[in-house]
C-alpha cells in the first residue's frame, strides 16, 4: 500500500506563490537589462513595403531594433518570430530595445511603417467559397507535406446545403469505420444538425513574457511555459542553437491552458535581441498583446447526423467539421473531436470528414480539451434532444452509449486501457440526487425556470516512453528530477511522490528538482494533454525501480548474496534473511559514488534520451543515480472521462443564468492527490461555464479588427459568477496499465461542465437547441422572445 499516494500534501511551490517569492518570467532583473517592445501589425494581412527607423533610432535611450530580416522565417503556415507579412492584427513585425519600456514604446510610435494591405478572411466558409478570400497569398488550407494550398468548394457544394445547413465539399481529412448506411437504416430517430462552436482565447493570467541573455556560449531564457524539458528542443530551434546550449528556466507558470505547452515563436525575440545588443533583454507581453498574439481554441462550423435506436443506442454518426485554424493552421482539434465522438458515444458506425481553414485571426492551438470539449458542447444537448424524443432519461441515454474497457477508439479502433464513464454517471446521479432534482427540473417560479442536466467529456490522457531520473545523495535525501513543468496543477509534485513511495521514503526527506534545465532534468513529455498523472507516475516509478535495484545490488556487494535477497524499509536496505545486515540509503549513496559506473551515473541506459543522458552527466558522482526510460508498454489509449451534473435557474426575461449547484465526477484511475483533483474539477468547471455561456471572441469581418482584447471584453467567469461551493467525486478505479493505477483528467473536467450547462439551458427552454456556443445573453433573450437570432446560422467570430 502506498503511503503517500492518494493523500493530500503541501506542494513545495505553494509557499512561494502565497508569499509572492515565486519568480515568474517578468520578475527577473539583471544588471544592464534592456526592455523590448513590439511593433505589431494593425492590419489583418499586409506586406511591409518600407520601415523608416531614422527617427526612432535617434531617440535617447533607444538601444537597437530587431527586424524580421534578422530572424529565421518559419516554414509554411506558422507564426513567425517577426514577420514582413503579418497574417493577423497584432502579429509582431519588429522589436525595439530601450532602457525602459516607455522609451521603447515611444520609439515604436516614431517608426514610419509602410504597409500594403492584402486580402484577408475571418470566416472559414467564406474562404471556401468560389473566389473567396484567402488568409495567405498561397492559399487557405494546410496540406500535410505540401504546405499552404488553395482549396475552394464549388457553387454546387454550397447550393446543395439547405438554408442554414453546413455545406460539405471536399474534405481535407476523413475516416470511417463500420457500415454507415446500415447504421442509419431503420433507426428510431435521426438527428441532423448544423452547429457552430466559437473560438476562445486562452486568457492566461500570466502573459507570455520572456527574458534572455547569453553567457559562455549559452543562451539563458526565463520563460512562461507549462512544460519544462519539452520546451527546450523547440525553443533552441527558434533561437538557432543546439538544445544543450540553452538554459531554460520556467519554475512557475501563471496559466497556459494549452497555449504554452511547447515553445512559441515570440519567446525567441529577447534571445535574438540580446545577441544583437550584448545585453540581457526582457520582453514583457501585456494583457492586450496576449489577446493578439497569444492563441485561441479553434472554432468549428460543423454538421452532425446521428442515428438512434429505440433504446437510445447510437447506431451511426456522420460528422463534418470546418475548423477555423487562424493564422497558423491551428491544431488537430477537428480530428480529436471526431475521435472523442467515437469513444464517448461508441456509435456502431461512424464517418468523419473535416477541413482546416486558415483565417487572419490569432494563431490557434490546443486549449484544454482541444476538439473534445468543442464537440461535447455541440453533441451533448443533441443527446438530450434525442432522449426527450425517445422518452429516455438523460443519464440513461448516456449510460447506454458510454464506453467500457472493451470499447475502441478513433479511426484505428484502438483499444483503451480502462473506461468507467458509466460508473461516473452512476456515482454522480446518486450523489447529485438526480431523480429528485429531475422531478423539479422545468419548474417555473415567476420568470425563473429551474433545470437539471448532465454533461460528459473525454480526453486521451497518458503517454509512455519518457525518462525518469532520481538521485539519492550521501545525506540520504531523495532528489526527484522532474522535467515535466509546472502548469499550476501541482501534478509535477503529486506524480513525484510515486518515486518516494516506491523507495519507501519519508516525504520530508525528498526534494523535487525542477524548473531549471541546468539542474539536470530528464526528457519528459510536456505538461499538457492531461497526460502528466499517467506519464509521470510511470517515469518516476521506472527511475525509482532502477534506484531500488541498485540499492539492493549495492547491499549485495557489501553484505554478500544477490540483490533478490534484500528489501527496503525506513530508508534502509536490508537482508531479508538477516535484517541486522542493513545499510542506510545515505551510506548506499556514498557507496554508489565509490563504485562508480551506472551506480553514480558514469554510464546510462542506451535507450534514454540524449537530454536525460546530459542531465545524468551533470549530476554524476553526486550519489546513487536511478535513471530509466519508461518501457512498461502501453496497449491502448488512456481515456480520461468525466461527467458533470448541474442545476441552474434561468431567468427567461433577462437571460441571466444562475448556477445553483454543480458536481463533477472523474474517471481518472486511482486518485493521486485528492485536493489537486478537487481543484481541477472545480477549476475546470469554471472554465467550462465560461466557454458555454459568457466568453467572447469577436472579429469585425469588414476591418478584421478584434473586439475582445481585454478580460472585461472577453469575459471569462470570475469567482463571483460561479457557486462558492461545488461538489466533486472520483470513480477511483485503478487503470491496469499504470503502476499506481493513475490516469490524467484535467481536460474533460472543463468539457463536461460546459456541456452540462448548455444542456441545462436547453432544458429550461423546453429543449431548444441553439446550434451555436457559447449561448450568450442575447441568444437566450431572443429564443425566449421568439425573435430570430442576430447571428446567422454559420457565422463565426460574432459572439
Amino acid at each position: 500500500m502506498p503511503e503517500l499516494l492518494g493523500k493530500d500534501f503541501i506542494p513545495p511551490d505553494i509557499r512561494g506563490k502565497v508569499t509572492g517569492a515565486a519568480k515568474y518570467a517578468e520578475d527577473f532583473r539583471m544588471d544592464g537589462l534592456v526592455y523590448c517592445r513590439l511593433l505589431t501589425s494593425p492590419m489583418p494581412h499586409a506586406r511591409v513595403r518600407n520601415i523608416d527607423l531614422t527617427e526612432a533610432l535617434r531617440m535617447a535611450g533607444v538601444v537597437d531594433v530587431l527586424t524580421a530580416d534578422e530572424v529565421p522565417e518559419q516554414p509554411g503556415a506558422a507564426t513567425n518570430i517577426l514577420t514582413n507579412e503579418p497574417h493577423f492584427v497584432g502579429e509582431p513585425i519588429l522589436a525595439v530595445a530601450a532602457v525602459d519600456e516607455t522609451t521603447a514604446q515611444n520609439a515604436i510610435e516614431a517608426i514610419r511603417l509602410d504597409l500594403e494591405p492584402l486580402p484577408f478572411c475571418v470566416d472559414p466558409l467564406e474562404s471556401l467559397r468560389p473566389g473567396g478570400p484567402n488568409a495567405y497569398l498561397e492559399g487557405n488550407t494546410v496540406v500535410p507535406r505540401q504546405g499552404v494550398q488553395e482549396l475552394k468548394w464549388s457553387t454546387e457544394d454550397f447550393e446543395a446545403a439547405e438554408e442554414g445547413q453546413l455545406p460539405m465539399g471536399e474534405p481535407g481529412a476523413e475516416w470511417s469505420y463500420g457500415d454507415l448506411e446500415a447504421g442509419f437504416s431503420g433507426t428510431a430517430l435521426t438527428l441532423d444538425e448544423t452547429f457552430v462552436t466559437a473560438s476562445h482565447s486562452h486568457h492566461s493570467m500570466e502573459p507570455r513574457t520572456a527574458l534572455a541573455y547569453w553567457e559562455n556560449g549559452k543562451c539563458h531564457v526565463r520563460g512562461s511555459t507549462q512544460s519544462q524539458s519539452f520546451v527546450v528542443p523547440g525553443l533552441a530551434n527558434y533561437i538557432g542553437i543546439e538544445p544543450e546550449n540553452l538554459v531554460y528556466v520556467a519554475e512557475y507558470c501563471g496559466g497556459g491552458f494549452g497555449s504554452k505547452g511547447s515553445a512559441y515563436p515570440c519567446m525567441a525575440i529577447p534571445a535574438y535581441m540580446s545577441k544583437k545588443t550584448g545585453r540581457p533583454v526582457l520582453m514583457r507581453i501585456s494583457r492586450a498583446e496576449e489577446y493578439y498574439l497569444g492563441s485561441a481554441r479553434p472554432g468549428f462550423q460543423g454538421r452532425i447526423k446521428m442515428g438512434f435506436q429505440e433504446d437510445g443506442q447510437i447506431s451511426a454518426v456522420d460528422l463534418y467539421i470546418v475548423q477555423e485554424s487562424g493564422s497558423n493552421g491551428g491544431g488537430g482539434d477537428m480530428g480529436a473531436a471526431a475521435s472523442a465522438v467515437s469513444i464517448v458515444y461508441t456509435p456502431l458506425a461512424m464517418r468523419y470528414r473535416g477541413i482546416s481553414v486558415l483565417t487572419n485571426t490569432p494563431p490557434r492551438g490546443a486549449q484544454r480539451g482541444p476538439g473534445q470539449n468543442q464537440i461535447a458542447m455541440a453533441v451533448e444537448p443533441l443527446l438530450d434532444k434525442a432522449a426527450r424524443q425517445l422518452g429516455i432519461d438523460l443519464v440513461a441515454i448516456r449510460r447506454i452509449n458510454a464506453p467500457t474497457n472493451d470499447s475502441r477508439y478513433g479511426a484505428s479502433r484502438q483499444p483503451v486501457t480502462s473506461a468507467h464513464l458509466r460508473d461516473a454517471l452512476d456515482m454522480g446521479a446518486e450523489q447529485f440526487a438526480w431523480q429528485e432534482r429531475r422531478a423539479r427540473s422545468g419548474q417555473r417560479n415567476g420568470s425563473k425556470i429551474r433545470a437539471t442536466a448532465v454533461g460528459q467529456a473525454f480526453h486521451s490522457a497518458g503517454a509512455s516512453g519518457f525518462d525518469g531520473l532520481v538521485r539519492i545523495t550521501p545525506d540520504g535525501v531523495l532528489h526527484i528530477h522532474s522535467g515535466v513543468g509546472n502548469l499550476g496543477t501541482y501534478s509535477y509534485a503529486s506524480t513525484s511522490r510515486v518515486a518516494a513511495d516506491a523507495l519507501k521514503y519519508d516525504w520530508d526527506n525528498c526534494q523535487i528538482v525542477r524548473g531549471d534545465s541546468s539542474l539536470g532534468l530528464p526528457w519528459n513529455l510536456g505538461q499538457f494533454g492531461s497526460n502528466t498523472s499517467f506519464t509521470m507516475t510511470r517515469t518516476n516509478y521506472a527511475a525509482a525501480m532502477d534506484a531500488l535495484r541498485k540499492l539492493k545490488e549495492i547491499a549485495a556487494i557489501e553484505f554478500g548474496g544477490s540483490a533478490e535477497d534484500y528489501d527496503i524499509s525506513g530508508e534502509n536496505v536490508f537482508s531479508k534473511s538477516n535484517p541486522s545486515r542493513r545499510m542506510s540509503y545515505a551510506r548506499a549513496a556514498q557507496k554508489a559514488i565509490e563504485l562508480g559506473g551506472a551506480y553514480s551515473g558514469h554510464t546510462v541506459p542506451d535507450d534514454i534520451n540524449p537530454m536525460t543522458a546530459r542531465a545524468v552527466a551533470s549530476v554524476v558522482d553526486t550519489g546513487l543515480i536511478g535513471v530509466a526510460r519508461d518501457n512498461m508498454g502501453q496497449s491502448g489509449m488512456v481515456p480520461a472521462l468525466a461527467a458533470g451534473f448541474i442545476e441552474i435557474e434561468l431567468d427567461v426575461e433577462t437571460g441571466k443564468v444562475e448556477i445553483i449547484d454543480y458536481l463533477g465526477v472523474a474517471d481518472c484511475g486511482t486518485v493521486n492527490h485528492p485536493q489537486g483533483l478537487a481543484t481541477q474539477i472545480k477549476g475546470g468547471a469554471v472554465m467550462g461555464f465560461g466557454m458555454a455561456l459568457t466568453e467572447r471572441h469577436l472579429y469585425d469581418d469588414v476591418w478584421g479588427l478584434p473586439g475582445s482584447v481585454g478580460l472585461y471584453q472577453a469575459k471569462p467567469p470570475s469567482y463571483l459568477d460561479v457557486p462558492s461551493e461545488m461538489g466533486w467525486a472520483a470513480v477511483n478505479i485503478a487503470d491496469p496499465e499504470n503502476p499506481v493505477g493513475s490516469k490524467g483528467i484535467g481536460e474533460p473536467l472543463m468539457g463536461c461542465s460546459a456541456a452540462a450547462l448548455l444542456c441545462a439551458i436547453s432544458e429550461a427552454l423546453e429543449g431548444h437547441y441553439f446550434n451555436r456556443t457559447p449561448v450568450v445573453t442575447d441568444m437566450i433573450v431572443n429564443a425566449y422572445s421568439g425573435q430570430p437570432q442576430s447571428h446567422t446560422p454559420l457565422q463565426v467570430n460574432t459572439q
Partner: protein, 328 residues
Amino acid sequence: MMKDMIPGFELIQPSSVEGALNLLEEYREDGWALAGGMDSLGWFKNRGKRPAAVIDLEGLDALRGIDETSNGIEIGALTTLTEVERNPLIRERFSLLSEAASKVASPQIRNAGTLGGNLCQDTRCWYYRYGVSCYRAGGNTCYAGATEALNREHAIFGANRCVAVSPSDTAIALVALDAEMVVRNSSGERVIKADSFFMEPAVDIMRMTVLNPEDLLIKVRIPNTWNGADFYFEKASDRGSWDFSLVSVASAIKSTGDRIDDARIVCGAVQCIPRRLQEVETMIRGQIRNEDTAAQAGSMAVQGAEPLDYNHFKIPLMENLVKRAVRG
C-alpha cells in the same frame, strides 16, 4: 489598437479644490482630471488620450463624503462606489443608488472607482476604445453603426452618427432620483439637473457629459423628493460581476395603496444618455400597479426603438426590465 504602455505626462497633485480648478483652467484640453482611474488608466495605457498634465484629485478630501442637508443628501464626487453602496443614509433613503453602485463592475473596482468617475466615464463602444478614427474620436465615420458591424452592446434609441451607449450604472439611478450635479470651475459654480448632465451626440459627439475641460464635478445632490418611494434597480449583463450593462433600469415609484401617484423610470445602455421614460411615467401615473400596467409600461418603453444588426435582443430585454420595474 491597444498599446498597454502609459506615455509620459506631468502629474500634478493639487491639495485644494481651488488649486485643481486653476490647473484645469490652465491646461484646458491638455489637462485631465484623474479620480479613481478606472476609466482614465485604460485610456492612458492605450495611448488613446494623451494629456500633457494629469491633475490627480486624490488629495482633495473636500470632495469625499456623504452629508445630510436640509433637503436631502450630498455626495462628494470622489466618494468611492463602495462607500456609496454601504452608506446607511443612502441605503435608508435612496437604496436605488446603493443598489446601482453595488452592481458596478467588481468589488476591487468599486473600492477604487468613484461616484464622479462612474458618472463621467467615457462610453465603452469597442470600436471607439480600440482606437479607430470614428466620429467620437474626431474622425468622419461610425464603425459600430455600419452594416455587419458588431454592435450588440450599442444603442437602440437616439443614434445620431454615433451609436454608443452610456455605460454608467449610477447615472440612471441619479436621473430617477432627480439628482443635481454641482459643477465648478475657476469662475464659479453651477448646478445641473442630472437629466441634463449627459450629452447627446446630436449636440456634441465628442463628449459624454456637459462638462467642459475646465469643469469639475464637485458633488451630487439628491433631494428628498423620492425619499420613501419604492425603488427598483436591475442590470442585465453577460456576467454577474465585472461587466457593463446590456440594458439596465432604475425606477422610483410613489403610490397610494395600489395606485401610482408618481414615477421616474430610467433605462441605461440603450442610448448615449440615460433614457428617461417620461411617456411611460405619465401613462402609469394614476394607474393601479399591477401586471397589466407593467406590461403596458414595458410595451410603451420600447416604442420607437431602432435596433442595429446585433442588438434587437435589447428590445424585449428592455421591455422586460421596465415591466419588472413597474411590477415591483
